[in-house]
């Protein structure tokens, strides 16, 4: 009976989506800009000037593969799919190679490492990078006098960040460095995309390596100067605006209010670097064309349109997703967005940049994978448990999650044959 109910409700939802799309429109399924207001912006602003009329259909990430598979076997209605790199990777077998777009990508200045990602490990371009977000650092200008001598914000290291926070604490009497380690904060992304790869060069393979041990030791020392309220922070823009925190790391969208409301008070800059480079996590969104697309030529036209510099700027204004193409940010852009945009570009273009992917291929186990990082952090930093023991224990847990998901290694870990293994 419940199966029937589920099918029935699915059919009802599907009939709504279909009803929404007109026959002459090209169906664009997207896991990004889902909330009503954002989807409306996508339709009214971003896709307004599209050469082909587009029906923009938001879809929940876990439903995307199901929806696509159903469409592949049935109605063939979807011509364009917009999703995160990690969401598109498992769908590669359902997507058309888009090598004809290679030229466009090179010409518009999409960075090489981004273009390489879009091949999904094949020789062909499997999606076209569409827009990106990432995580950066933010600081109140009041904290700048405490920067260690010789330190440059754009080439900061974790050692310098630690010293900076210590100086600021000494001068202000407060611990003013903050991380979003609250219940819905993105601390796991900091640990898996920034801190650990900066020290080990990878995410999974070196989880319990000597490099990882030295990283945790260093981070524990740095944590002495971190605001103890960090375990309550979810969005760093709030403590930054209230002045409780002067230096912070977070997702650009979660720092936005600080930069937008007080652009003169804050500076934005790239994440610090460790011994193995300046690891950062690009959140890359791509557009792909399913093999069964009813209107491939229309889809390619829409892709060309989305990559135009003007469209990329419109996208930035409407969604705070940054351009993937080389484009000068216009003069009249919101000053807060400009600050963030410059930091995103500096981080991506840094000499020692080490892009780290959002976990790929974990499917519904992504949450448990993140938990391993947060648990390790809790044990080592907050509960003072011995580092090596904790890493051994959590590495076993990590292996269990990887084995269940049968996930191969993802960049920057070296490619693996079969399931990724913790050394």
């Amino acid at each position: 009976m419940f199966k029937k109910l589920a099918i029935l409700s699915g059919a009802i939802i599907l009939s709504f989506t279909i009803a929404e799309a007109r026959a002459d429109e090209l169906n664009f399924l997207s896991t990004q800009m889902r909330p009503l207001e954002e989807a409306q912006k996508a339709r009214a602003q971003i896709l307004k000037g599209s050469p082909v009329p587009v029906a923009y259909l938001p879809e929940e990430p876990p439903q995307l593969p199901i929806h696509l598979r159903a469409d592949e076997q049935g109605a063939h209605t979807i011509s364009l799919v917009g999703a995160l790199h990690g969401e598109l990777a498992p769908l590669a077998s359902m997507l058309q190679p888009l090598d004809q777009e290679d030229k466009l990508i090179t010409q518009s200045g999409v960075p090489e490492h981004v273009a390489k990602l879009a091949k999904l490990g094949t020789d062909h371009l499997m999606y076209v990078p569409w827009m990106q977000a990432t995580y950066i650092m933010a600081a109140n200008k009041k904290a700048l006098p405490y920067l260690p001598a010789g330190a440059n914000l754009n080439t900061l290291t974790y050692a310098q960040l630690s010293e900076w926070a210590a100086n600021a604490e000494k001068a202000t009497g407060q611990r003013v460095l903050g991380f979003p380690a609250g219940p819905t904060g993105l601390m796991a992304r900091f640990l898996e995309g920034y801190l650990l790869p900066s020290y080990t060069g990878g995410v999974v393979v070196g989880y319990r390596s000597a490099d990882a041990v030295s990283m945790w030791d260093a981070y524990k020392a740095l944590w002495m100067h971190v605001s103890p309220n960090s375990t309550n922070y979810n969005f760093m823009q709030e403590p930054l605006l209230s002045g409780d925190v002067l230096i912070a790391w977070d997702h650009v969208a979660r720092l936005q209010n600080a930069f937008r409301s007080k652009p003169d008070d804050f500076v934005a800059f790239p994440a610090p670097a460790g011994p193995k480079g300046r690891a950062f996590m690009p959140v890359l969104v791509g557009v792909a064309v399913p093999k069964t697309a009813p209107n491939t030529s229309g889809a390619l036209q829409v892709i060309d349109y989305l990559l135009k510099p003007e469209t990329q700027i419109t996208t930035l204004r409407a969604s705070s997703f940054f351009p993937v193409v080389q484009v000068a940010l216009p003069e009249d852009l919101d000053p807060g967005l400009k600050l963030e945009g410059a930091a995103v570009a500096a981080q991506q273009g840094a000499k020692d940049a080490l892009p780290t992917l959002l976990p790929v291929g974990l499917g519904s186990h992504g949450g448990e994978f993140d938990k391993i990082f947060v648990d390790t952090f809790q044990r080592v930093v907050l509960r003072n448990q011995p580092v090596k023991q904790v890493l051994n224990r959590e590495a076993e847990d990590m292996q269990r999650v990887l084995d269940t998901a049968k996930a191969p290694c993802w960049s920057p870990d070296p490619a693996s044959e079969g399931t990724c293994k913790v050394k």
Binding site: P183, N232, D244, H365, E368, K371
Partner: protein
């Protein structure tokens, strides 16, 4: 005639169907979810729950909170309902003010207390003005577990005493004044009258209030999450985290099953401990 006997059943059908569909079915599904693993049926999810970093803390915190807050609330509500008996003027207004927290959502109550207790909140502002502290003082961090517990206790106390109070007030109103007057005539002191007359007659109400409040206290969630964040894990917040952050519905279901069992056990204990004794007509 036949229609006559069927009618009551027809009338209760909707509520029965409602409960079966929206309570019993999910309950069975939750239990099934808790016992289903990748390799079939088993207790693997429970092992994972027991092995979880925050499991012990969440059990300790949940029981600590319930054992502290429920007796305090019972005492306060008893006191409040006794006092209200002697109020002649403005009784309705006092009743209304005391029950305000009932009308506020859990999360809103949690946020109110967060605004009071946060570093630059109202409490610190006042303490700073009177010169007790010289700068922002943290109360809600992992470095101040005692203050954090006290803060959550206060917030829960403030938010949920009203429900105990409302049940007790209704019970107190049912006790005929004659009993107490008779006791008074025989020379019983105020304490004796309360202890020997009112309290025994109030036992059914106390039982109801305790069951309601204890079950709700085991389910404390929004206030705790708002005030304590990750620093004060409780069973229900762990269920929430496993469901939505870790996205492991099976372990989340295990926590849910555990909360259900604990609540059932607590209800049984209260039912037995406060059952009417021989010779009492409760």
């Amino acid at each position: 005639m036949r229609g006559q006997t069927l009618r009551p059943y027809l009338l209760i059908m909707p509520s029965l169907a409602f409960l079966l569909l929206l309570f019993f079915v999910p309950l069975v599904q939750t239990v099934a979810l808790a016992f289903s693993t990748t390799t079939g049926t088993g207790v693997g999810n429970f092992v994972q729950m027991l092995d979880d970093l925050d499991f012990r803390d969440s059990v300790r915190n949940t029981f600590g909170l319930v054992l502290c807050v429920v007796p305090l609330q019972l005492l306060a509500a008893l006191g409040m309902s006794m006092m209200l008996r002697h109020v002649r003027w403005g009784r309705d207004i006092i009743l209304w003010i005391w029950t305000i927290p009932l009308g506020i959502s859990d999360l809103a109550a949690g946020l109110v207390w967060l605004a009071i207790l946060t570093d630059k909140g109202y409490l610190n502002t006042i303490l700073f003005e009177v010169g007790v502290i010289s700068g922002p003082q943290s109360w809600l961090t992992y470095e101040t577990p005692g203050a954090l517990f006290l803060a959550i206790l206060t917030a829960e106390f403030w938010r949920a005493t009203a429900i105990v109070f409302v049940v007790l007030v209704a019970g107190v109103q049912l006790i005929p004044r004659e009993y107490e007057e008779a006791a008074s005539v025989f020379g019983a002191t105020a304490w004796q009258r309360f202890r020997r007359v009112t309290l025994p007659l109030l036992r059914p109400s106390i039982q109801t209030a305790l069951i309601l409040r204890t079950v709700l206290a085991f389910e404390a969630f929004a206030v705790v999450l708002a005030v304590g964040g990750r620093n004060f894990p409780v069973l229900v917040s762990q269920a929430y985290l496993w469901q939505f952050t870790n996205q492991n519905y099976n372990v989340a279901a295990c926590y849910a099953v555990l909360v259900t069992l604990v609540s059932l056990a607590a209800t049984l204990v209260i039912l037995i401990a406060l059952r009417p004794r021989a010779g009492e007509s409760a």
